[in-house]
């Protein structure tokens, strides 16, 4: 079970996919390090599943090459690739029981002594008692684990997971996230995980590639993507960001100084995705949990050197661990702030005048030439 598979990284070199005049995936280069848990994150229709299917061989790339280690597998049929897939709908064979489903791959390769391996697999996914059942007699979570076992038993170089948790309810999804992570750590196989759930991607993956419109917007570790988004899409799609359009006043020092709605804000120069020019525009961003709220009466007590903007609370909602405020300010009409419920200030109710302040180091700057609302999720995904 713990045997390390030889083979090395998955390398996609300039692969693209077009259907007629529609381009699902623009030429993209991607290296997925061996043994990593890699997530392709994006909204539906962003090309993430197509990319996955090209690695599996279920889709022929229009251009480009797929490498497994040093081997070019672009023209290899799916049944000849050392890659296995966990499908979104699980695609368990309805006419075979759990045991037969799991043994399918081994038997097709003519391996006779599969009994022991199947038992080991059943133990790994904790389904020993269900070996004789048919897929439709299992719950969603159990089916999902059979699908994982059926793929993993073949010791693929890469395991591809296409929205494997999409059909599960929230609680089960959390549980399976941990389970998958545990299995990945245990077997040490490269996992490529496609998902539209940013939280899932951040919890599970070592590396996340955020995809949008058939392109990779940004690639990096979850914390890096969250703290240093390079585009508005990433800033909005991963968590929530307050983005303010501001004018650049000064770029001389370490910090860039900008103004918006009468407030002066400082952005660390190295956290600007594009080189700001004096007199130009910059999108200034800050995450809602980095911001503190003070009542206007206490404005004097806010430390000097912090970024400050004033505004009025429009709405507040109590979430238990935190309270979320929507603040209307001259700089930004719906500034979101999450405040931990440690000491609650009774004056902070809708209508109250407040000062929002945060450490300038937590500010990031983005190129102003892009859609400020890109990646904002308006409707919860139905998948």
């Amino acid at each position: 079970m713990t045997q390390k598979t030889e083979g090395g990284d998955v390398r996609l070199s300039g692969i693209s996919k077009t259907y007629g005049s529609f381009t699902a995936v623009h030429p993209l280069d991607l290296t997925i390090p061996q043994g990593s848990f890699f997530a392709l994150l994006g909204a539906s229709g962003c090309g993430k599943t197509t990319t996955l299917r090209m690695i599996a061989g279920l889709e022929d790339p229009s251009t480009g090459t797929v490498f497994l280690g040093d081997k070019d597998v672009t023209d290899l049929q799916p049944y000849k690739r050392p890659v296995n897939t966990v499908f979104q709908s699980y695609a368990l064979f309805p006419h075979l029981n759990v045991c037969e489903n799991i043994a399918f791959g081994l038997r097709r390769r003519g391996i006779k002594s599969f009994k022991k391996q199947v038992d080991d697999m059943l133990d790994l996914v904790q389904l020993g008692a269900f070996a004789g059942r048919k897929p439709h007699q299992l719950s969603g979570g159990q089916q999902q684990r059979v699908a994982v076992a059926r793929a993993l038993i073949n010791h693929p170089q890469v395991l591809l997971l296409d929205e494997p948790l999409g059909a599960l309810d929230l609680k089960l999804r959390r549980q399976m996230q941990l389970e998958l992570k545990r299995i990945q750590t245990e077997v040490g196989i490269t996992f490529v995980h496609v998902t539209h759930d940013q939280e899932e991607a951040m919890t599970m993956a070592d590396q996340v590639a955020v995809m949008n419109g058939g392109r990779v917007e940004q690639l990096g570790a979850p914390a890096d993507l969250y703290e240093n988004p390079k585009t508005t899409f990433v800033a909005n799609f991963l968590g929530t960001s307050n983005l303010i359009e501001a004018e650049v006043v000064e770029t001389a020092g370490e910090d860039t100084v900008v103004t918006c709605g009468g407030s002066k804000l400082r952005v660390p120069g190295e956290r600007c995705a594009s080189q700001p020019r004096s007199g130009g525009k910059l999108l200034v961003g800050v995450r809602p949990e980095k911001v503190s709220v003070a009542h206007a009466d206490d404005a004097g007590s806010v430390a000097i050197g912090r970024n400050k903007i004033t505004g009025r609370i429009v709405a507040s909602s109590f979430i238990g661990v935190s309270t979320q405020y929507i603040v209307d300010s001259p700089a930004c009409s719906d500034f979101e702030v999450y405040v931990q419920n440690i000491e609650r200030d009774a004056r902070l109710v809708p209508g109250a005048e407040v000062v929002l302040h945060w450490n300038p180091a937590h500010t990031f700057g983005l190129d102003a030439d892009q859609d400020i609302d890109a990646g904002v999720e308006t409707v919860e995904e139905s998948a």
Binding site: L58, Q77, V83, F87, P94, H95, F104, R108, R133, K134
Partner: protein, 268 residues
Amino acid sequence: MVVIRWIRRNLVVIAGLLTLAYMILPNIVVMVFSFNNPKGRFNYAWQEFSLDAWKDPCGVADLCGSLSLSLQIAAWATVGATALGTMIAFALVRYRFRARGAINSLIFLPMAMPEVVMAASLLTLFLNMGAELGFWTVLIAHIMFCLSFVVTAVKARVMSMDPRLEEAARDLYAGPVQTFLRVTLPIAAPGIAAGALLAFALSFDDFIITNFNAGSTVTFPMFVWGSAQRGTPVQINVIGTAMFVIAVLVVLGGQLIASRRKNNAQPQ
């Protein structure tokens, strides 16, 4: 009042039982009269109980010959129509090609055409082609009209099949042949079986098309029709009853196996 209330409460059951009786009564008549010992040539009035016909089912000249011929034709027509129909069904569901919509409608043409007209036209066709009427012309005709039913039955099944299952098989080291034999065929099997049973039943008791195109060959339905003019031997009822009993046993056996392997059952 009590009676009315009772009727009202059990209306569904009563209606159900009456409908069932409506369907089963003719079958019971066939069975009962297979034990008759008629006076004269016609088996239309009940006389007395007798096992004579059951002891000698082939006692009437040409009866068993025609039965055997009908069974052979039905068997071959089933094989032919099922093989062709299954392929057509897969092609229509799985592939996008020009005239696919038109073919989809054309498949229903033999079902929609009045059988007598079809039969007469087929005869015209065979005569013009100079074909010798007999076993082969009947078989060709039967495969033709069974096809539509097989296609319809298999298509319904294939349409409900998740194409990801075949992708999963390919992903799990099954080549095209293995994928078809191990995944596609077993999952499509209930639809194919339904189509095959339908084809067998339709072919076995077809009279009109067969009568036009059989030449001097006589199938079982033609034999029954012919003998009905001169008097109906009890053996006809014996054969009918036997077929009925066999069919019921097959169905019961199937259900028994299905309930034994309940786990095996797929949600239909």
